[in-house]
């Protein structure tokens, strides 16, 4: 048993309970309005502070990790993305990194079969990470419908795509069947479960994992679970929810009647997540763009990078060197700046 994931689990569980109980004892204003506002303020201020704090430190040296053939002669093809030599190349490198997790994709493994080498992708982490991030993005975009009236066409399109297999089983007694099943929610849940289990079950990864690695995963698990519960099981009153959320964004907060506890749990966990975000490793979202091994051009001999704090340093000059070795240099037939006599004269 590991204290770290147990602790993270405990924290998420307490948060879960707190929101559930709170909304049950009439603290809807606190959980529906005050905390979300506070969380957003913390998020915006914290995020900005962190990024500005990073940006405040200069980049003294151009240290890209070169992942392919650098710019050379025109008869040697350059790896323009993995070792970019211009702004476009760098932009592409960053885009591929952000959109496809290109570095993670490099993980290949190989098998030797009868002296023949076969490569396979070490693909699970990459697929898991991609699934997680894209599902999260989709869910996030879908949720903008709660903050915009009328819902923009592109969001509706996204919803249609996301629910491309619409499950409508009509039980007797359930009038409208199940609402459209959004794939993204379930993918998110599965990906979170995979990433969490991976952390717990792979010894090397467990060895390095901290509370702050388990906590966001479990928190997001709680968010996805409460969201799914709300949508497919407890059937929250969407219109009342939208009234609340629109109230929040238009700064006329209201707490309509009849929204179940699950919604407050969901909203509270989301609030915790966004407030926690700027103070955690989740900032890798912003950090990737500021990573000097990825966002700089590789042809560093062609362009001079300027270090703002470059200061003069003591060096051992040629003159000092010759002073020490003059005699020996002359004896060995090495050229010198000053002959012995000249140097002796100067000393006098």
């Amino acid at each position: 048993m590991n204290k770290r994931y147990l602790f993270a689990f405990l924290v998420v569980f307490v948060l879960f309970l707190a929101a559930g109980l709170g909304s049950a004892v009439g603290l809807q204003w606190l959980f529906g309005v005050v905390i979300p506002y506070a969380a957003v303020i913390v998020f915006v201020a914290g995020f900005a502070r962190k990024v500005l704090n990073w940006a405040a430190s200069p980049v003294p040296f151009a240290i890209p990790t070169t992942g392919g053939q650098g710019r050379s002669f025109d008869w040697i093809p350059q790896a323009k993305i993995d070792n970019p030599s211009g702004g476009w190349g760098v932009l592409l490198r960053l885009l591929f990194e952000v959109l496809t997790f290109r570095s993670l994709f490099r993980n290949t493994r190989m098998r030797l079969k009868e002296e023949k080498i076969a490569y396979q992708l070490e693909i699970f982490l990459w697929v898991g990470a991609l699934a997680f991030h894209y599902a999260f993005l989709t869910v996030l975009l879908r949720h903008t419908r709660f903050f915009l009236e009328p819902t923009p066409g592109c969001i509706q399109l996204l919803e249609t795509l996301d629910s491309f297999f619409r499950v409508e089983i009509l039980y007797p007694g359930i009038q409208f069947g199940l609402p459209a099943v959004y794939l993204s929610g379930f993918v998110l849940l599965l990906a979170v479960v995979y990433l969490t289990l991976r952390r717990i079950l792979i010894p090397a990864v467990r060895y390095v994992s901290l509370v702050s690695d388990y906590f966001p995963l479990l928190l997001i698990f709680g968010i996805a679970l409460s969201g799914i519960l709300m949508r497919y099981v407890t059937k929250v009153d969407i219109r009342a929810v939208k009234e609340l959320t629109l109230g929040l964004v238009t700064f006329r907060p209201t707490v309509p009647e009849g929204i179940g506890a699950v919604f407050y749990i969901h909203l509270f966990l989301v609030s915790v997540l966004i407030a926690y975000f700027p103070y955690s490793k989740l900032m890798h979202l912003g950090g990737i763009f500021l990573s000097p091994t990825r966002n700089l051009r590789g042809d560093t001999r062609a362009y001079r990078h300027v270090n703002p704090w470059n200061y003069p340093v003591p060096v051992h000059t040629y003159e000092e060197y010759e002073e020490e070795f003059r005699e020996k240099m002359i004896e060995a037939g090495l050229p010198v700046e000053k002959e012995l006599a000249e140097a002796a004269q100067e000393k006098e």
């Binding site: 040296f61 997790f101 490793k281 091994t293 270090n307």
Partner: protein, 549 residues
């Protein structure tokens, strides 16, 4: 303690066949013989005026630290966070996904979980969380934060000198977190307390005072080159005439001193001399050596940014004094990372030099437009591409060559095709190692970043295993008997690695291969290679080997 006599309890404990399972922060470090390098000689530390030179021994309980050492570390940490965005960002954004874990050759070879790159970085991050993050301090060890204390310091020292700054992990990191950068910062902090290793500190002092890591004085340097001249004459019948510190020469040539003073780099140095002689005879190109700037390598890079700059300054200074057009650099690994990514920034702009143009081919080295320093291998590749060298490849026919990409030219430059082009043009038999062990995914020799000492031989051999393992594969499959490289540390370290893991494979620099194949004007029969081995015998041996295989 590693050096102490084991007690009977220890003996019983050691017989247990499996080490205990425990949380990494609760597993105190055991500084083991064979894995660590000796402490820096205080005289060397003092030569450069670096902080707190003192005598100490890593396996003793008292490292004779300054009274306020924790404060020094804290302030040094803070200063570096403010100066280096890389450091700050890398402290914050790791998600511990584990992609880097099994990419480190020291982890693969030693099996020590604290050699996983992520953990090496966590050594510093744990202190960062405690010192610079409120949340970290509140949650403490539960969230991987711990205050700096002597045990932590020992752990830093032990593991930061088990990283060769090869950057293989950085390639696989989805955020580009570079353990080399973290190791560099950590070593800078250790240097604030005078805790360098001697294999780095003494070469640095030597280089500063005498121009090269080995501390060779100018006349001895010249003697050694003169010896090469005799040796070349003996083997080729041609007397080459190297130039030294000649004002107004076209090009200043700088190479790691290891090439001049240690086998088998010496044969590579002879290769340089023959190439320059050929170019002067045929095309009138004048290349000069310097004893003042007689070190291409830069162990300052393994000490601190400032020390790196102090040693590197000699290159431009000497080029300026000699009024050459541009600088040519020999085959070296970390030297080229320093030149490619740091030199211009630190000691430039080199506006007193010209944009390098090869006067023989007319090629303008656009890739070196600003730094004005060209890699000898790209220079030779350009000459070969334009058919300017008369080559007889048959003299390398007894060789089955493979190429080891050195870490720094690979992941700090992207220098892959140039050496391969040269090798293919001077050798008939070239074989690649498996794809996940070469080019940008290349494995370190196990001795980089100043770790090529003798006392840490176990670490070097274990860390070099992934590399040797790939060499063994091509040795068995294609009969590879020569491992070519473009790095002086490789040439110094790989022979021991080969002796131990893959006997029968020798090590060479690329320009030794070039020189063996190069037809010098007025040469003799050329019955031996530069090592003085008879071609006839070598060919017969090679054929014998092929028959067996």
């Amino acid at each position: 303690m590693a050096e102490a006599k084991p007690t009977p309890q220890d003996v019983l404990h050691r017989i247990q066949h499996s080490p205990p399972r425990s949380d990494w922060m609760e597993t105190p470090v055991e500084i083991r013989k064979g894995m660590y390098c000796y402490a820096a000689n205080p005289k060397s530390v003092a030569t450069l005026g670096l902080p707190h030179p003192h005598a100490w021994n890593p396996v003793e309980d008292d490292w004779h630290l300054p009274e306020n050492w924790q404060q020094i570390i804290h302030e040094g940490f803070k200063e570096r966070l403010e100066r280096f965005r890389s450091f700050k960002v890398f402290m914050d954004i790791c998600v511990r996904c584990g992609a880097c874990a099994d990419k480190c050759h020291y982890f693969i070879g030693t099996g020590d979980p604290k050699n996983m790159p992520v953990l090496r970085a966590e050594l510093l991050r744990s202190v960062y969380r405690n010192d610079f993050s409120r949340m970290g301090r509140i949650l403490g060890k539960l969230n991987g934060a711990r205050p700096m204390n002597f045990d932590v310091l020992r752990e830093w020292w032990y593991y930061l000198f088990q990283c060769s700054e090869c950057r293989r992990c950085s390639l696989f990191c989805p955020y580009g977190i570079d353990t080399a950068e973290i190791t560099i910062m950590g070593r800078e902090l250790l240097n604030l307390l005078g805790l360098n290793i001697d294999w780095i500190a003494t070469p640095v002092a030597n280089c500063y005072m005498n121009g090269n890591h080995l501390g060779i004085q100018p006349h001895a340097f010249k003697d050694m080159i003169d010896f090469f001249v005799d040796d070349i004459e003996e083997k080729t019948g041609v007397r080459v005439k190297p130039r030294f510190m000649e004002k107004g020469a076209d090009i200043l040539f700088i190479t790691p001193s290891g090439d001049v003073f240690a086998d088998p780099g010496t044969y590579t140095a002879m290769g340089y001399l023959m190439l320059f002689h050929y170019l002067e005879e045929k095309y009138g190109l004048k290349v000069t050596w310097s004893t003042y700037a007689s070190e291409g390598g830069n162990f300052g890079f393994f000490t601190s940014h400032e020390t790196m700059k102090r040693l590197n300054a000699k290159m431009y200074a000497e080029a300026k004094r000699l009024k050459v057009k541009w600088i040519l650099g020999g085959e070296c690994g970390h030297m080229w990372r320093v030149i490619h990514q740091y030199m211009d920034t630190m000691n430039g702009p080199a506006d007193f030099l010209e944009v390098p143009v090869n006067p023989i081919t007319g090629t303008r080295f656009e890739q070196a437009r600003s730094t004005k320093m060209v890699h000898l291998v790209e220079f030779t590749a350009d000459l070969l591409h334009h058919g300017k060298l008369e080559i007889d490849k048959r003299r390398n026919d007894y060789l089955n060559v493979t190429f080891h990409d050195s870490c720094n030219p690979s992941r700090g430059m992207g220098f892959f095709e140039e050496p391969r082009y040269v090798i293919r043009n001077v050798c008939n038999h070239f074989y690649e190692m498996p794809a996940n062990t070469i080019r940008e995914q290349t494995f370190c020799c196990g001795s980089g970043a100043g770790l090529n000492a003798g006392e840490n031989m176990e670490l070097r051999l274990a860390g070099g295993l992934p590399r040797a393992n790939a060499v063994q594969h091509v040795h068995r499959k294609y009969g590879v008997n020569m491992l070519a490289c473009i790095c002086a540390i490789d040439r110094a370290a790989l022979p021991a690695l080969m002796d131990y893991w893959v006997p029968g494979v020798q090590v060479t620099g690329v320009h030794e291969l070039v020189a063996n194949a190069l037809n010098l004007p007025g040469q003799n029969e050329r019955t031996t290679n530069l090592r003085g081995e008879e071609f006839e015998e070598l060919m017969a041996q090679a054929e014998g080997h092929t028959d067996e295989g």
